[in-house]
């Protein structure tokens, strides 16, 4: 993520916003699509930037014997949160608060479903340390 990238991102974002506003009066639907396209381009761009960091973290987590699967679940949960947040934000931009709430709720439910097994074996781990009364 070089210094120049932040200026590029700012530039792309501002141009996208201006184009969206320009279209809003005549064609509100196309304006929404312009803002979604800008959002997606910026998102994909920063995902490509963060990929090596994630691989490095995965390497570090893999080296520690216990925490490999914990970290992979954390990674998955982050991905789900990002997607749910993105979709909910698009719906909010379109003025559909109700749909946005449902998407966020769905994301939370999926994340909860993924972390329950983790919780279970963490509790077992703790119970091992406690003296058997």
């Amino acid at each position: 993520m070089s210094m120049a990238d932040v200026f590029k991102m700012a530039g792309v974002g501002i141009v996208g916003a201006v184009l969206a506003v320009m279209l809003r009066k005549e064609r509100p639907d196309l304006a929404l699509l312009v803002s979604v396209a800008t959002g997606v381009i910026l998102f994909v761009w920063l995902l490509l930037e963060i990929r090596p960091v994630m691989r490095a973290l995965e390497g570090i987590a893999g080296s520690m014997e216990g925490s490999a699967d914990f970290f992979s679940v954390a990674l998955k949960v982050t991905g789900i949160a990002l997607i749910a947040q993105f979709a909910a934000q698009v719906c909010k931009d379109a003025g559909e608060e109700a749909i946005a709430q449902k998407i966020e709720l769905g994301g939370k439910v999926i994340m909860l479903g993924m972390t329950v097994p983790l919780l279970l074996n963490m509790v077992q781990l703790i119970l091992q340390f406690l003296p058997q009364s």
Binding site: G16, R27, L30, A31, A37, T38, I41, G79, L82
Partner: protein, 65 residues
């Protein structure tokens, strides 16, 4: 990820709105409706491709699959 996609979408949007005005003024409302729909479909296809790329890269980065 081509930035010019944004400009393409905006250009289509402006073109459709101008065309719409011209057609409505010249009395052909149904043609105006058709061009509006055509523009919307084209832009939707482009955005859907973009979103599928986004989901693919998210799956790749967070190895969701």
């Amino acid at each position: 990820m081509s930035v010019d996609l944004i400009f393409k979408i905006a250009a289509i949007g402006i073109l459709v709105s101008v065309l719409n005005q011209v057609l409505v003024r010249s009395g052909r409302e149904e043609m105006a409706m058709m061009t509006t729909l055509a523009g919307l479909v084209i832009v939707l296809l482009m955005v859907i491709n973009l979103i599928s790329d986004l989901f693919a890269s998210v799956k790749d980065v967070f190895n969701l699959q």
